[in-house]
Amino acid sequence: MEKIPILRMGPFLLVTIQVDLYDQLALNLENDLISSISKTGAKGVLIDISALDIVDSFMGRILSNIASMSRLMDAGTVVVGMQPAVAITLVELGLKLHGVYTALTIEKGIALLQQQFTLRTSGQEEDTSSQDE
């Protein structure tokens, strides 16, 4: 059984998707990520999709699922490296990635997660955990 590796990068987890997600692989990834987040207490997940030349509605749903599950565990999700042609296609497909932030590079993705993390831990009164837009 194929498996998508999950790497630890300081307080964050990095997942690099290089193959098309089919049902079982996607389910395994969701489960593996959840247990990794709870084991490591990770504060965020970076999903690198720069190797994907298409993202269809099934893969989009998996990305959204991962984002909402991570959020329940107090971790943010950033999708990095989406190819421009993929981004254009997703708009026309009508797919909105709810609760998913995007960044061009891993470095920018990390910066985004760090920023969210600081916001959340800065002791402010207001609830900054909501990630919907």
Binding site: D20, Y22, I54, S57, F58, Q83, I88, T89, G94, L95
Partner: protein, 134 residues
């Protein structure tokens, strides 16, 4: 002009289908954005066949009208068919846990889209994407 039919039985079949579409795209000189749109639409239809009909096939060919070239994909299955076709073409309509974007999204992504389906009669979806994307 040659055409090519590939059976759709397992998710991995998409790999072969995609690479054949890529060859046709190269032959017609279709640009990356139009190629990405066509392959994304194809992915939606392959997943539908696997999810709802279990198996089917796709025929892939280059078509031309006058000097205009495009790629035509015909997805055929002998599954249960679609009871409410009008609803199935609406964004967000799904009888499974899908996002309900496969059919309406595929229609938006390509130049021409046609669907024929009736309960018990299977489903045929035909796509044409012209080289210029219009």
């Amino acid at each position: 002009m040659s055409n090519h039919t590939i059976p759709i039985v397992r998710e991995q079949d998409f790999i072969l289908i995609r690479s054949h579409i890529q060859e046709l795209c190269a032959e017609t000189g279709m640009n990356l954005i139009n190629q990405t749109k066509l392959i994304t639409a194809a992915s939606e239809l392959v997943r539908n066949i696997l999810n709802y009909a279990k198996s089917g096939k796709v025929m892939m060919e280059i078509v031309s009208i006058n000097a205009r070239q495009g790629i035509k994909l015909t997805f055929t299955d002998e599954g249960p068919g679609i009871e409410n076709l009008q609803a199935a073409m609406q964004d967000g309509y799904s009888t499974s846990s899908g996002m309900g974007l496969g059919l309406p999204g595929a229609k938006r992504l390509v130049s021409e889209f046609a669907i024929q389906s009736a309960p018990g009669k299977g489903t045929i979806v035909t796509l044409i994407h012209w080289k210029d994307g219009h």
